[in-house]
């Protein structure tokens, strides 16, 4: 500790000039001996603090920005890491909560393990004994208790079924971790801290003939947010399952009286006793049917559950542990035998920068080279080719600029050692997307063609945002489309696929003839989405690039943004 303080003092000495009182590094007996902008720390004038970390272990940073020595001894009740003297940590005792419904902690000896912010799997991985959202977490009371770039937020503790405690988490960014599952069907807890804008579970099974996904999602109050459509879930209204019944269940949005949060007064603060559940917490629509707030379908080999699907007030604003029943399924919808692998990704804060990573399969001698200036499109030619930079990237940039998302300079790479993927069969798309090595942003693969021919692009929907090298880590654009379309069409197509990857659905689906004639169209449940072909998310080829406010909000929550 002394060495830390010495280092801090030396740095501060170098940075600051002398004031009216003692300057940085001067000896002092109290704060009054130092310049008013400084403090007396360990007998030396030093800069005032913004975060406790600057003061060293065993100190807090007080409201007046001075470092205050902690006095918490081993066994004393504490509320923050900075309450305990050096060498001790503020460790959660167990499941007991105080009158604010927060977990009780006390000072205890640190262990020789990983520090705050490091990745972890269990509590014992962490020096300070709390592994949450896959990262070692310090207890806190205010943001000053946390390192720079972190915020003190309310976090649900999975080990005690989502009971809350205040801890430090990064203010912006994504947290990714694996959730161990040991049986084909299992309940997992997805902790949603205050400040989370979106959360996803990426589920996969090793047996590609089995499907995997979520069967139910309960919010922290135990209210149902999602039930898998039949045949994965129970047939509703005693109807036998059919394609139409399954589609009706999948597309059924919540009723107007059922959209709000089910929590008992979440306000998003780190100190409020939010997520208090009462007997009337779960709002039930009057007609007895339940509308899914989450769009999700189990799928062969891999699927993503992304929340929220509908950016409405209250979604994910209440901290707590969402209980997700994860399962593998046979093709009949019956529970499968494969044990799912589950990875969680939580997005903290919104983002507005979308990193694109362009990968070019071997496009030499492509039949549509009239649209590429008779040269082969590649990582070497794309950065300077006007049709790519001005037309394609220019149009793509404009589409996303309109929704407040900037596209920084993309990366360009060739993939020349995968000849079997140059002209890609849809069945092999996972092999290509597994080459998507960037976890941030979106990997965009340009292939010669996509079979069945006529298919112009592919995107998982939603994609596993924040995860690299999975069979869904990217989107595919088929450049044989250039044989009959232009680069601005390709840009719009690419924008559509990117938006799907980020979680948007079609604004409207074509009417299924099996639907009753008077049944409403299957629409995106986002309230202000219309059914216009001018919308970027229209289901068929149209030149529209419009997005509604709700669609914009949904995009801004995506974990692919930074």
């Amino acid at each position: 500790m002394l060495r830390e303080l010495f280092s801090v003092s030396i740095v501060l000495l170098a940075l600051a000039g002398c004031g009216g009182g003692g300057g940085i590094g001067d000896s002092c007996g109290g704060n009054n001996d130092c310049d008013s902008k400084l403090q007396c720390l360990a007998g030396t004038c030093a800069a005032r603090c913004d975060h406790a970390q600057e003061c060293g272990d065993g100190y807090s940073c007080a409201e007046d920005r001075t470092c205050v020595l902690a006095h918490g001894h081993s066994g004393d009740i504490c509320k923050s890491e900075v309450d305990c003297e050096a060498g001790l940590t503020c460790r959660i005792n167990g499941a007991e909560v105080n009158s604010d419904h927060r977990l009780i902690a006390s000072c205890a000896a640190e262990t020789a393990a990983r520090g705050a912010g490091d990745q972890c799997e269990v509590d014992t991985d962490c020096r300070r004994g709390a592994c949450e959202l896959g990262h070692c977490t310090d207890l806190c009371q205010v943001d000053r208790d946390c390192p720079d770039g972190s915020t003190c937020v309310t976090i649900p503790r999975v080990a005690v079924y989502g009971a809350l405690f205040p801890g430090c988490l990064p203010t912006h960014g994504t947290l990714t971790w694996t959730i161990p599952v040991s049986s084909p069907t299992a309940d997992v807890l997805l902790p949603i801290p205050v400040g989370a804008e979106s959360a996803e579970l990426v589920m996969s099974v090793d047996d590609p003939s089995q499907q995997v996904g979520a069967k139910t999602v309960l919010d922290p109050c135990g209210c149902t947010r999602y039930q898998a459509p039949c045949p994965f879930g129970e047939p509703a209204d005693n109807e036998p399952c059919s394609d139409l019944v399954a589609a009706e269940q999948y597309f059924r949005p919540p009723g107007d009286d059922d959209i709000g949060s089910s929590d008992g007064g979440a306000d998003g603060s780190g100190s409020n006793a939010n997520t208090i559940c009462g007997p009337n917490s779960c709002k039930k629509p009057a007609n007895g049917t339940f509308g899914n707030r989450v769009r999700h379908l189990p799928a062969l080999g891999r699927s993503v559950l992304l929340m929220p699907s509908i950016p409405s007030p209250g979604e994910l604003k209440a901290p707590g542990a969402y209980q997700v029943e994860v399962s593998s399924f046979w093709s009949t919808g019956a529970p499968g035998s494969a044990v799912p692998h589950v990875t969680a990704v939580v997005r903290l804060g919104t983002g507005n920068m979308l990193d694109l990573h362009f990968f070019f399969l071997d496009l030499s001698d492509h039949p549509c080279t009239t649209m590429t200036g008779e040269i082969s499109l590649s990582a070497a030619t794309a950065p300077t080719a006007p049709y790519f930079q001005d037309t394609f990237l220019g149009e793509l940039t404009e589409v996303f600029r309109r929704v407040g998302i900037a596209l920084p300079t993309p990366t360009y790479e060739d993939i020349t050692n995968q000849p079997s993927l140059d002209a890609l069969d849809l069945g092999d798309v996972g092999s290509l997307l597994s080459l998507g090595k960037y976890a941030d942003g979106i990997n965009v693969f340009f292939v010669r063609s996509l079979s069945p021919l006529g298919l112009e692009a592919f995107s998982p929907s939603p994609g596993p945002a924040g995860l690299a090298r999975t069979p869904e880590s990217g989107i595919v654009i088929a450049l044989d489309t250039l044989c009959y379309r232009h680069w601005d069409d390709i840009a719009r197509l690419t924008a559509h696929q990117i938006a799907r990857y980020m979680g948007l659905y079609h604004n409207v689906e074509p009417r299924d003839p099996r639907q009753p004639p008077d049944a409403p169209l299957w629409q995106d449940p986002i309230g202000d989405s219309d059914t216009s072909p001018d919308n970027l998310m229209y289901f068929s080829e149209h030149p529209g690039i419009q997005l509604s406010g709700g669609q914009r909000e949904a995009l801004a929550k995506s974990a692919v943004l930074r």
Partner: protein, 211 residues
Amino acid sequence: MTARLLVFAALLCALPARGSDTPLDPAVREALTPIDAPPSKVLVDYAFRGSSGVDRLISLASDSSIDAAVQIRAIRMLPLYCPQPDVGCARTTVHDALVELVQGYLTALRQTPAITLSAPDLLRLRAAVEALGATHSAMSSDVDVLTQDPRALLRHPSRDVRVTVVRALRSLRSCAAIEPLRMLMTSETNTRVQPAIRSALQNLESPGSCS
């Protein structure tokens, strides 16, 4: 038959470089051009409003005056109209229409060897070849259609065409494709095409995979 092929060949020579302005029912266009997935048979039939889906589709598949995006999808979704798509649909309306379509392109190439197919036409040809493979007909006569004039397809200057033909030969599930593929393996020099041939041979030579 010959007369129809000649007409087809004549049409082919007159193909526009991009889709023309032939009016098409917007509902049909939308059903055939979904942006994220191949067209759905249920929705396409619905868009045809009661008329026989397969006949209308064959008509669109043969009509090079419509938008290439629509025609290519129409060609490629024909195998969905096979009575039993997974089993194979030899000698059905769909199968015969696809054979005729491929032969139409081949005839056009033979009769006017000087012409080079435009990029959209190459794509149409590939869609027809791929769709024929997707009928899984297991008919040696289909193998003959794709291989009898090696210069037309198996030695076509476009490697995309060659890969498409190789994959179609595999998809046909006819053991008659093994020999021409073996011969092709000895002559094909393009390292981007060779893996497709190897994969097709490996597949067809495994027990029970062809008849």
